[in-house]
Structures are given as structure tokens and as C-alpha cells.
Subunit: 889 residues, 2 copies
């Protein structure tokens, strides 16, 4: 290692650049990069990650040559700063920071003001004329060094401070004078000596060596190891160490410190946006002692420096091709840039900035799409929102899961019927339930928003709400709901029926009262941006929708078809459920057919409604999926009422309910298993679809039905159902003396279906991966029950993500991969898509693109997000080999 | 096709042999084979399956040359029989039968007596002097030919017969005289003419051509297609047609017909066993008109023919290397063998015959093991049985699933407590429940047998009963149980508490009263046979057992260890469940640990009991698996009682029960998910296992625990639990100042575990495939609910087998395959086994052997069956490449 390079300088002379993250860490690479493009950064040097590895591997022994390189590094900084470490006239102070290739909060904090000793503190006083500042810096340095480098608990130093304040009768730190702080410095040194057994090191180089070793050691601290474990960070060899000259914004009245964005992060407007404070340190701003000024004031007061700053912010934005969030310090009139990073922004700002940067020629459309707008930005734009201010300022009743984004305000109701009644009278309500079931859909649809105290991101409430773009906070366990008293409480505040609340489904918050909402207005820039996105659409986006309203919304948001229309949702509407129940309690096929005949006209009208809206676009209709018991009442009272409606005894109905009960409904008598044991259901649904399409054809409306068989696990199940569908369709064609063309395909949602996809593909025209159920079965997680352990798993790092939100690539993804490959092997012309919750998740969409799928289907409100995710995937991975095929969809 | 061979002769001149099943069908190949070894078979010829294909493909056009070959075939038969088709003196009659490569009941039935016409019937009368016989044969031929060949419904002929009987005032067919039958013959011809529009063909060759074409056509009859579909028979091209000389056992007093076995099929004794009837046709025996005589009488009455018969039966047994079931006919003193096939036999006979045939040098041990004893034979031997006679003769109350083999007799009880009480008083009871739950184990263990009206082959009742070798009939839906009145009924008979019933778990039958049982006595031959089997044991057999009694039984039946000890079963015993419940209702970890501490000594004693019995052999202990709510009461009354026991309010307990309730417990908070959220449970169980082993070590008993983590789906779950186990073990080692060695492995029962088995294998020492749960999740079938559709699926041919009985190779098997391959890839030293229900299923065992597994684990009573299945697999597939590794287990 003797000839190795351990130390990489930055400043006017710079050895590194942005590509060297692995070697010198992210922070080191960024500092070097800024220097390379002529940004005035306080000079310094970085010890490489390889150095860290060597030192750790050799029991903290430094490799030959490292010491000399560090000393040379110090000389480099001294020369550029025209100051000297430990000098009694013009002393240089240093900061020491860790910095691995990946940002890692588990590692060592910063050490500031390194280099102070008894001589240097005098020099600082002489130079700044500020004795208080000098001793405050000194005692802080001893505290930090003792705590972070030597492991002397910060509490000892705090105690000493408190002790002194008691002695002199002062309550606030800021009221301590220079003398007090000088005394404290001595006492801190004594504490240091007492706990370490050594004198506090006066030699700045020794201080630096200690600090560097402390950073190295922190790489293997249990906190850092745990962090890497939980975050699944692997393959890194160590951390870099950044040693940098300190600069001070509080040295004089021509010193200052500030933060700015290169554009307005709320609106995206092209203006420097930020705050600064004269003769101050960053800490002063944080401590709230003084109020910073808007950056535009700087233009008046420090015009030259302001111009210089603008020059650098423009340069940085152009270089990083993104709006920047910049920290700077002015020391005695000289401007230093301390840090730059991509700035956080609102959805509106993101889109405007992206479009502006493309129009200004700073970035290409590809760059704007991949780097400047995130799916969350688009999501933000599509829903009404509370302002950030409003949410943070006011009291929050409870936090739950951000189950469906957007803001909603309404009066509390606890019952679906009440919600419907209130809505009829024009009232705005929030439906508050422990959890929702299919019987609540009426109330949910009438409410402005939904709040549940139980259930996860894919609970019934969450899925339905997202589907409708209706704000929902789910699983808010902070509140306890009491249906009897019609109240809920968070233990402190009790909310009654009729009280106003506001829910923020984007952030998962519940607030008291009526908060102000901002409706979404889609800007011109949004249209422009989405047009650009559209040019990269190499995979079709469809929507999950089962009402004409949803279909219409989906189409307006850019859906190219319906990928999943769940027919069972239609079964709950109005008095249809009575017909469904009559079908279920039928003693024989004849009775069952009679009940189904009653349902036929309803279903046909449903399909007509959707087909009309989707005129000319395909509509995938999934045949009945849930187990029949979901349509039956469960409590004694409900059974009594329903039995009367059906004209049978309550005992008979109770027996039927009992007989249909299942231990694990998820794995029970549902999906195509129903259609196989009750072929008349499949016949009725097929008839409704085909009759609807034929009748619309007379009005020149083109319906393109794709009939989807659910829960197939065995090709013979599919063949059985396909033949019923085909025979029924032929019968209807004969009756109408007319034909339409339609497709028959299947869900791939049972693991066995993915494993035997080649067999199924030989018989089917399309596959739609139902990754909700596939996730449940592959992982063995019931999504209705998994809330009992998934949060714990996420906390412990056993799971990196909730698998119901982001596709589990290794497990479920492998089955999707197998299913896609085997599917194409069995039938090269098969059309393959996804219609689970993951169809709207950007990471999962990218995965589906890579697998060569033809389409994704998601909630209407996620359609634009899916468009963006596809464009990003196309730009990242290039066009696919089988693009021709995908284009055939 | 002109030069093709379409026709294969058999008789003294024979063209085919047993290897030609594909070409000339199974029946044709067998007839040829008998002829080849000099057995006197009535001569004939077979048209090949290729001929069938050609004719069907060419719209029933015969290929060039076929007619000539058929005519040559006729000449061949005429020459060997010294008779002539259609001859008016010495006429030859023929039979025509279908026969594909695989036996297929969906195809054409036999046509007998082909060749009769008005001339021939006179010749038969002249020859036999039996006019009645002649006309009976003639009218039967017209009926058969009309129905089978020409599609004239048999009913028309039946009507004519009835009409005639009414006319002449005769009630029974047998009382019709020759004249009546002659008249009937004329009327049959008229019916034939009326329905076909043709005269009945007088030309025997024409008759034959019609019959051959009818057989060809029957290949594509809807019945045959459906049969092939349901039985999943594919790859066959057509059926053969067998044309054979008729011989008559009723031609004279030196004619006879009979059936015999080469050995006694009940006992296996080496003696000719069967019946015969002089001057009779097989039909006479079936019709019950005359009673056949034991075959030993033949020795006295027809000594020469008897000797000849013995010569042929010996030859056939030696040739087919198996006990034969033979049909023969003697026509005027000449013996013909009509058919031979392997004879059905009892388990006892199978074993004796196998051992005898090996000792006689007829077969090798390999042949005896692979072909002469089936797993079901061994199973029969291990359980008490009702005689077949007894079961068939007496009234059966209902049929259910043969859930656990063996016979049981007892008084009906409907409650587990009652069963326990009765057993204490020495009474024999049958526990009758709608279904059983873990709380019933006490009663189940006290009962002689178990009968349930709900649940499948893997319901709780079935699994527990099989594990104990206790007879069980499950899912007997013929009966309705009423707990209130303490009765059950099949709609006709009502059985009260205290009534005697008998259940046959081998056949799934429920009978009234006390039937006689035969206890199992294992013969010397059994021991010999199993010793031979043992020499082929290239895969270890372990048992699933969790009590010392079961462990002991398993060891006595040849188990080489315990492959699955379910710890939760121990939790239900005695008053432990109270401690378990206390643990569950604990408010915090401290309380929970207190309750667990109370359980520790119980668990330790449990493990000691098993370890002692298995001294020196490995015991795989699975940590707690079921969801906690399984331990809690559910009805209001139970909750009240249990709340008192626990000293908490019933409201609190009810809330806990409510809170733990799950929608899909199968996919819920169970398995390692419990151990991860409640690490103290894993700690307690580990401590009990390790302390037990260490304490036994002092008494020189060697415990070899293998700790198994259930329901792992993610390697990080395994690592989490492994580290708790390891840390706890080290703590105990320190406390005892002693160590033992043990292994830590996991169940592979979640699809994701199989898919990511390489990752898991890198951390684990062994895998045990839990194919019960793996089947549930891979197919999406809840085994508690699937009875609602699996029977229908089996009926419709959607499923070939119940996947909970026979491993679904294509789906679940593919995951087991992946899991095994990936497991070996991740860790070449990993030990892999199976412990689901399939561990005792021969077909699944063969599959596991092929995959290279190291062991199977099954119920104690299935251990010998598994031994046999392994030996059969080894003989069939040869030893495995990785045999060294398997031997290391």
C-alpha cells in the first residue's frame, strides 16, 4: 500500500469528481465535483473508503504513507485558506465528517471547530474581537470531541453546564457571558481528563488523527451495522472521511449565512428563493434566536456577493440539470458554497421546472422525465390538498396510513346508510368505520372521505377509495371508535357524530375542524409534460373500473381501456343484492337460473354503461370472483330482515349462511371454482356481456369485451369455463343473428397458474397477473390479517417494503417472471398484463416492463402515474426486443 | 399402406407378443403372448391400432390389402379350429372385441356368436342337439349386433321379448322354450330391418366387416373421448380389434367353464383355487342359475383336463411371475384358456406369495418388491379389519372418506368429554362429530374410532387419526348429526347415543351394530419381506410423532428418527392450555414470560419422553406453529368458564378473542411470525429442548434434537429465529456447564420459501417440505374448505387426484423441485426431507426420491409403507448420483 493514494484533495486543486462515489464517498465526490466546475467550496481533502477498510482490517494501524498524505492535505488546505492549523495568529479550523458511497445516518456525526487549543482560542479572539464566540466554540469542540471521538457521554458536559448556570443564577444558555464560557471550557477539559485518563489533546494534528480514526471506527458501530442491515445496504467496503476548512458567517458584518433554492420550490417559478442572515452561523437560524431575511434583500444589501451567488446557482443548476437546494456562507465578504443538492418541490413546481428546463435547453425531454418529476408529484396534482402549512400547524387527532391521497373535509358519520342520507341532503360527510366491507360501498361513495381504525394499505377501504380517487386514512389505530355512542376518541379528544373533521389521505392525518383545501388545477405545463411522457408509452395503460363514471374518468386521464372490471361490485348495488341472495339460497339449478334471469338485465345495463364510455377501447370483464357468503348477512338481526325479503324462514337462511361459512375464504370456494360448480352463473354473465355488446352495435358503439376467468390454477379449469363462455356466446349470436369479436383470458393469481402458465397460455388469449392474490398466496400473507405482523417486520428490517404496495420481486416477482416466460413459450401471441394494486406502483411497473408485459391496469387516478413510470422505464432500459408484440395490443 | 401389415394372428401361429401393446392393444398382445408360450388359446387375429387410425382418417375407407388380410385371418382361425365360418355342418363362430394400448371402458362392448345365420343355426342344432341353445344364441347375437353395431336400441328387443312372454304367459326368460326363442329370432330380425332399413346380414363375412368398423368408430364415440379426457389418457392413435374363435363350455357333458387363481388369494397358500361348472357357459354362473363346484372336484371328475390345467396355470404363473387369475373353457374335452391376468389378493396373501415366489426362484427379490406387494397390502396388514364378506353383506348406514384405515366397533358418543369418561370405565366408543378440533384430542384418543360428517382426507380428524393409526371415516355427508338430541340419522335410520356402530376406515363405511374384527398378526413372511425391503432403503424414513407412545410405535415399525414433532399438540394436554391462555392474554412481555415459565417444565418433560424413546436417533422438533386464537375459547359459555379460570373478566377475554380473530388464519399470524413478534416463545421452547437433552445426557441417553422453524418465507425470518435459538442454547449450555450438538433448519411450506430456497439454504442445516401447507398456498385451496369443490373437480376430471393425498407434481411438485435444486445450490450439505401428508404416499415418495431428498417423514403406521415405496423407487429408478450424500443423513 506504500504507493497508494489515500487522500483526495478538493479546492482549487482537486483530485476527485462526481463519478468516484465508491472510492471517496458521496459527500467527497460532490465536494470535488463542485470544485471542478469552479464553485468556491472551502478547501479540504477526503480519505478514501479503501483507506477505511485497510485501517479496520489492520486493527486501526495506518498504512505506510497515509500520515504523510494527511499532512500534505493539511498543507493544501492551509495554502488555499491562507491560514495555518494551530497558528497563534491566523489559525485554520477544520470540520471532520464521515461519508460513504450511500448516505448512512447510522455513522459518526460531524466534528466542528477542530484545531482549537489554548493558543488558538486567543488568536480567534484577537482576530474576531469576540471572546464569547471564541470560548463558546472551544467548549463546544471539547464536548463534541469528547463525546463523539472519545465516548465521553455528552450528559457529563451538559451537567457541568447546568451546574454553572445554577451557580451564577442564569437560566438560558444565551445569557452566559465570555467569562462563564471560559470557566466552562476549563471544567470540560477536567471532565475529559477524568473520563479518558488523558489530557485534552492540544496538538491539532493529534486531534485530527483521533477524529479520523473515530470516523473509521464508526463504520462498524452497532448502530451503523444495524442501519445497513435494516436498509439492506451491502457491498460497501467502508466510509470516506472528509476534512474541510471551517468558514464562519459570524466573523463580521460582511459575513453571513444562508440557504437558497434555484427556483421557487412551491410554484416552480424561475427565481432565486431562500433566506439569509448577516453575521450569523447556521445554528442561529435553527435556534430561532434571530429571524432570517428573504434572499431578495441581499440583492440590495450585498449586491456584489448576490450577483456572485446567482452566477454559482445558475452554474450549479445547469451542471446538475436540476433545481438545486444550496447552503452558503460568506466569511468577511468571501462567498463559500457549502453544499448543493437537488431541491425538494411540490408536484406543481416539479412539472413546471421540468418543462422550463427542457424549454431552456438545460435538459432533454428524456432527462426531464426520468429525473425531474416523480410519480408522487403527479399524484399530488390530481387530488385536492391541504397546504403543508395547514397540516403542520394545527392539532392532529391521529396518524394512520396514507391509504388514498387527497384532502377531504366533512361531518363525521359512523354508518353507511347515514352517509347516503346525508349526501342526499347535500351534506359533506366523512365515513368513519372500524373497517369497511362491500356493504359499505354506498356510504363510501356518498362520503367525501373515509377513515378507518383498522386495515392496511390494501384493506377494502383503501382499495375502493384509491379506485375512486377518494381520500382515505386507513388503520388509524390512534383512535377508538364506539358505534353505540357514535363517537370516536384519541384518548384526549372525543369526536361526536356531526362534528367536522378533515382528513389528509396523502399524509395519513386526521384533524379536527374544517381545513382549507386547494383544488387541483392542471396547468398548461402538466399537459405539455404528459404529452412528452406519452411519446414514450411502449406499454399500454388501462384502468381498473366498474362504473361508467370511473370509466369516463379513466379515459379522461389517458387510459387506453379497462383492464379490470370487477362484476361483483355491481352485485351490491340497489336491490340487486336481493336477487343475488335469492340465487344463493336456491335449492336447485332451476331456482338458481330463475334468480339469475332476474339479474341479467341489471348486468347487461352495467356493461352497456361501461362499453358506451369506452367506445372502441377494450374492456376486460372479470367474472364473479368472491365467495358467495360475502353476499349474505351475518348478524342475527340482518338474517331476520333478509329472510323476510327473500320470503324464507330465518332458520333456513341461517343454515345456508352456516353452510357457506369458510375457514379461509381467501383459499375457498371462489373465482372460477364458482363458475365450475355453478355454470349457470358464468352463462348469465357471458350472456349479459355479449347481449350488451350486440345491442350497442346497433347504435354504432363498438364494445370490445375481453372476458376474464378468475382464480385459474389448472388449465382444465380454464378450458371448462372457456367452453361455457364460447357456447353461450354462440347461442346469443344466433339469437341476435349478429356477431362481435371478443377475447377470453384469465387472471394469473394462484401460484400454480404461474408455474403451469405454458399449459394455460396454449388455451388463453390473454393473461392478467392479479398480484394482490398472488402475493397473498406466494407469501402466505392474508392481506386482511397481515397488519398483525407486517409493521413489526418492516421495523425489524425483515421486510424492506410492504409487499402489498411494492411487488416482492424475489418471490412474487419470480413467479410473475416464470408466468410471463412460460406464457410466451406456450403462446407467442398471448397478451400479458397486470391488474393488481401493483399495476399503479412505479417500481412494479418498471419490473413489468422489463418482463415484457403488454399492459398495466390501475386505479383511474393512477393512470397518469403509470404513464410516467412507463416512460421512465423505457428511458432507463431502452425499448424491448419484443416491442412489436407489445405494440400489437 | 398397400404392403402394410394390418392383421396379427394368434393361435398355433402367432405374429405378436406382449411387447406390442401400442400396436395391437393390450388384449391382443396378451392373447399373442399366451399363444407364444404354448397355452391353448382359441385362435384369432388382431387388427392393429394403426389400421384403426387409417380407417378413421379416411372416412371409414379400408386401406388396400386389409380385406385380404382379414380373409386370411379367418382362414387361419378356420384351419386351427377345424371349422368354417358360415358352414352348414361345422360352423365357426367368432367374438369381436375392442382393445387399446390402455384399458378403456368407454369403448365398444363385446359381440359374441358372430357368424350365426339361418343355415348356421341349423348346423348348431344338428351338432349340439340343443335347439333352445341354438336359437337363444341366435337371438342374442341379433340383439347385440343390432344394438352395438347398428345402434338399434336394446330396448326394442327387450320390448319384443316382454311382449312374447305376455303372449305365452311366461314370466321368467329361462322358461321360454326353443319355439319361443325361434319366434323371437324372427321378430328380432324384423325389428332390425325396421330400424336399419336393411335386412339382417346373413353373410358372416359381412357381419364381421360391420362389427370391425363398429369397433373402429367406437374409438371416437363421445363416451370414449370423455373417458380419455377424464382419465387424462393421451398419445394413443386408436384401438385394436380382436377377432377370436368362440368356444362353448355348454356343448356336452365333457364341456365346462371355470375360473381359478394359481394360489389362494386370501391366504396366499400354494394351491389351485377356484370354481368350475360342467356343461355350462360363464353366463350361467353369473346368472346364478346353477351353483359352481370347487375346482378340487374337477380333479376327481375330469382328472386329465385338471392335470392339463395345472400344467398351464403353473406355466402362466412362472411366465408372468405373479399369481394369475385365469378363465378357461372346456369344449368337448378340449381345454382352452380364455384369459389370464394378475390376481387381486389380500395383504397377507400378497406378502406370502411374494416370499414364496422368491424362495421358489420364480422371481428375484427386486421383482417381488416392485411387482408383487403394493403399499395398500402392507397397510391392510397393520390394522384390524372387517372381512370383505361382512362389509358387503350387511346394511351400510353411510359412506364417507376412508380417512384412516382399520376397523373399529363401539358405542356412539357425540362429545369428547363423554368419550373420555366412557373410556375410563372401560367402554368402547366411537366419537361422532360434525368435525373435530384440537380440543377434541382427548376424546379422539379415548375412542376406538372417529366418524365425522364434515371435512376431507386431511381434516383435523383424518390427520390426527392417521397419525395414531386409529380408524376414521371422515366427511360422511350421508348422515346428519344433531348434538342437541344426541342422535344422527341417514334419513332412514336414526342412531342414538349408546347405540353400537362399526366403522371401516379402510373403505369409508359406517354400519349398524357390532361387526366382527380381525386383529393384525404380522407373519413370518412379513418380517422376511420387510427385511428384503430394508436392503433397498436409500432414503431415510422418519415418523411424525409427538408423544412417547407414538415415538415408540414408530421406532418399532422401523422409523429411523422423528421427522416432525408438533409442539402445539403438547399445549392442549391437561391443564397446560390454561398456562398457554394466560400467556396469550398477557398485557406485556413480563407477564407473558411468567406464563411461559409455567409451561417450561411441561415442555421439557414432553421432550424428555420422546428423546428417551428415540435414544440415539434424531428428533425434529417444530416450534409453535398455529395462530394463538386456536388456543382460546369461542362460544360465550366457554369464554365465561375460561375467564374465571384465568381470573380475568369475561369482557376482557372476549376482547382478546375478538382482537386475535383472523379472516384467513391459514395465511395469518402463525409459524415463525409468532416467534418473531413474541421471541420469548421461541426462547422458552428452545430452553425446554436443550435442557431436556442435557438432563438426559447425564443418564447416558443421547438426544439429537433438530430444531425446525415453521412457515419461513424469507431468509431474514429464519436468521432472526436462528439467532434466538442459538443465543438461548448457549445460555443453557453455560448454565449446565455442558453442551450437546443440535441442528437448526426450517420447513419449506410457503411458496416463497421454495422460490428463494438458495438464500435460505445458505443459513439452514436442513429443509423439511411441509407439503400440506405448500399445497394449500400453491393451489389456493384451504384444506378445511376445499371439500366444497374438490369432489366436483374429481368428477369432472379437472383434478386427477385429491392434491392433499397425492402430491400435485406439476404445480406443488415443481416448487418442491425448485426448492430442492436451489437448496442444494445454496448449501451442498443441506439435508432435505418431506413431512407433509405426502411423506406417506407412495407416488409422492417416488417423486421425492427422484428429486434427491434425504428422508421422508410420515405417520407411524405408514412407516413400513414408506419403506416399501422407497425400495420400489430405488428398484425402478436405480440409485441416485448423490447417494453418498443421502447416506450421510
Amino acid at each position: 500500500m506504500a504507493d497508494s493514494k489515500f487522500v483526495y484533495r478538493f479546492g482549487k486543486i482537486t483530485d476527485g469528481n462526481r463519478t468516484m462515489r465508491e472510492l471517496i464517498g458521496g459527500k467527497g465526490a460532490n465536494l470535488a465535483e463542485m470544485c471542478n466546475i469552479g464553485i468556491p467550496v472551502p478547501p479540504g481533502f477526503t480519505l478514501s473508503t479503501e483507506t477505511c477498510k485497510f485501517v479496520i482490517d489492520h486493527n486501526m494501524q495506518w498504512p505506510e504513507g497515509l500520515e504523510k498524505q494527511v499532512l500534505d492535505g493539511i498543507k493544501h488546505v492551509e495554502s488555499e485558506m491562507a491560514a495555518k492549523l494551530g497558528d497563534s495568529k491566523n489559525p485554520l479550523l477544520l470540520s471532520v465528517r464521515s461519508g460513504a458511497a450511500v448516505s448512512m445516518p447510522g455513522m459518526m456525526d460531524t466534528i466542528l471547530n477542530l484545531g482549537i487549543n489554548d493558543d488558538v482560542v486567543e488568536a480567534i479572539i484577537a482576530k474576531t474581537g469576540n471572546e464569547r464566540f471564541a470560548y463558546d466554540s472551544y467548549r463546544r469542540f471539547i464536548d463534541m470531541f469528547g463525546d463523539v471521538v472519545m465516548g465521553v457521554s455528552h450528559e457529563y458536559f451538559e451537567d457541568a453546564m447546568q451546574h454553572l448556570k445554577d451557580e451564577v443564577g442564569i437560566e438560558e444558555d444565551v445569557n452566559l457571558g465570555a467569562d462563564h464560557l471560559k470557566t466552562l471550557t476549563d471544567r470540560y477539559k477536567a471532565i475529559y481528563r477524568h473520563h479518558t485518563g488523558h489530557m485534552f489533546p492540544e496538538d491539532p494534528v493529534e486531534q485530527l488523527k483521533f477524529a479520523i480514526n473515530a470516523v473509521f471506527k464508526s463504520w462498524n458501530s452497532s448502530r451503523a451495522i444495524k442501519y445497513r442491515e435494516v436498509s439492506h445496504i451491502t457491498g460497501l467496503i467502508g466510509t470516506g472521511v472528509n476534512v474541510q476548512a471551517m468558514v464562519f458567517g459570524n466573523m463580521s458584518s460582511d459575513s453571513a449565512t444562508g440557504v437558497c433554492f434555484t427556483r421557487n420550490p412551491s410554484t416552480g417559478a424561475d427565481e432565486l428563493y431562500g433566506e439569509y442572515l448577516v453575521n450569523a452561523q447556521g445554528e442561529d437560524v435553527v435556534a430561532g434566536i434571530r429571524t432570517p431575511q428573504p434572499i431578495r434583500e441581499m440583492k440590495k444589501n450585498m449586491a456584489d456577493v448576490y450577483d456572485e451567488l446567482c452566477q454559482y446557482t445558475n452554474k450549479l443548476e445547469a451542471h446538475y440539470k436540476n433545481m438545486q437546494d444550496i447552503e452558503f456562507t460568506i466569511q468577511e465578504g468571501k462567498l463559500y458554497i457549502l453544499q448543493t443538492r437537488n431541491g425538494k418541490r411540490t408536484g406543481a413546481a416539479a412539472v413546471k421546472i421540468a418543462v422550463d428546463l427542457v424549454n431552456n435547453g438545460v435538459v432533454t425531454k428524456e432527462e426531464a422525465i426520468s429525473a425531474l418529476v416523480e410519480p408522487e408529484h403527479i399524484e399530488q396534482l390530481l387530488h385536492p390538498q391541504f397546504s403543508t402549512q395547514d397540516v403542520l400547524d394545527k392539532e392532529v387527532l391521529g396518524k394512520g396510513l396514507p391509504a388514498s391521497p387527497g384532502a377531504a373535509v366533512g361531518k363525521v358519520v359512523f354508518d353507511s346508510k347515514d352517509a347516503e342520507k346525508a349526501a342526499e341532503q347535500g351534506e359533506m360527510v366523512i365515513l368513519v368505520r372500524i373497517e369497511t366491507s362491500p356493504e359499505d360501498v354506498g356510504g363510501m361513495s356518498s362520503a367525501e372521505g373515509i377513515l378507518t381504525s383498522r386495515g392496511g394499505m390494501t384493506s377494502h377501504a383503501a382499495v375502493v377509495a384509491r379506485g375512486w380517487g377518494k381520500p382515505c386514512v386507513a388503520g388509524c389505530s390512534d383512535i377508538v371508535i364506539n358505534y353505540k355512542t357514535k363517537t370516536f376518541t384519541n384518548g384526549e379528544v372525543t369526536v361526536k357524530e356531526g362534528d367536522w373533521i378533515s382528513i389528509d389521505g396523502t399524509r395519513g392525518l386526521v384533524m379536527l375542524g374544517q381545513r382549507e383545501m386547494h383544488p387541483p388545477v392542471l396547468s398548461e405545463e402538466y399537459d405539455t409534460f404528459m404529452r412528452w411522457v406519452g411519446t414514450f408509452e411502449k406499454m399500454e395503460v388501462r384502468a381498473n373500473a366498474e362504473t361508467p363514471e370511473d370509466a369516463s374518468l379513466a379515459r379522461s386521464l389517458g387510459a387506453k381501456g379497462i383492464g379490470l372490471a370487477r362484476t361483483e361490485h355491481m352485485f351490491f348495488k340497489d336491490d340487486r343484492v336481493t336477487a343475488v341472495r335469492r340465487m344463493i339460497v336456491s335449492e336447485n339449478e332451476v331456482e338458481r337460473r330463475k334468480a339469475l334471469a332476474h339479474l341479467l338485465p341489471y348486468q347487461k345495463e352495467d356493461f352497456k354503461g361501461i362499453f358506451k364510455k369506452m367506445n372502441g377501447l377494450p374492456v376486460t370483464v372479470r367474472l364473479l370472483d368472491p365467495p358467495l357468503h360475502e353476499f349474505l348477512p351475518h348478524t342475527k338481526e340482518e338474517i331476520k330482515v333478509v329472510a323476510e325479503q327473500l320470503g324464507i324462514t330465518k332458520e333456513k337462511l341461517a343454515r345456508k349462511v352456516e353452510a357457506l361459512q369458510e375457514f379461509n375464504p381467501m383459499l375457498g370456494h371462489r373465482g372460477c371454482r364458482l363458475g365450475i360448480t355453478h355454470p349457470e352463473i358464468t352463462e348469465m354473465q357471458t350472456r349479459a356481456i355479449i347481449e350488451a355488446a350486440l345491442e350497442l352495435k346497433k347504435d354504432d358503439i363498438e364494445a370490445i369485451p375481453e372476458i376474464m376467468i378468475p382464480l385459474v390454477g389448472n388449465v382444465r379449469e380454464f378450458v371448462n369455463q372457456r367452453s361455457i363462455v364460447e357456447q353461450t356466446a354462440e347461442k346469443v349470436f344466433a339469437e341476435y343473428n349478429d356477431r362481435i369479436s371478443f377475447k377470453i383470458g384469465t387472471m394469473i393469481e394462484v401460484p400454480r397458474a404461474a408455474i403451469t402458465a405454458n399449459e394455460i397460455a396454449r388455451e388463453a388469449e390473454f393473461f392478467s397477473f392479479g398480484t394482490n392474490d398472488l402475493t397473498q398466496m406466494t407469501l402466505g400473507y392474508s392481506r386482511d390479517d397481515a397488519a398483525k405482523f407486517i409493521p413489526h417486520y418492516l421495523e425489524e428490517g425483515i421486510l424492506a417494503d410492504d409487499p402489498f404496495q411494492t411487488l416482492d420481486k424475489k418471490g412474487v416477482g419470480e413467479l410473475v417472471h416464470m408466468g410471463t416466460e412460460l406464457g410466451h413459450a406456450g403462446n407467442p401471441n398471448i397478451k400479458i398484463g397486470i391488474c393488481g394494486e401493483h399495476g399503479g406502483d412505479p417500481a412494479s411497473i418498471e419490473f413489468c416492463y422489463q418482463l415484457g408485459m403488454n399492459y398495466v391496469s390501475c386505479s383511474p387516478y393512477r393512470v397518469p402515474i403509470a404513464h410516467l413510470a412507463i416512460a421512465q422505464a423505457v428511458i432507463k432500459h431502452g425499448e424491448r426486443k419484443n416491442q412489436d408484440q407489445a405494440a400489437l395490443v
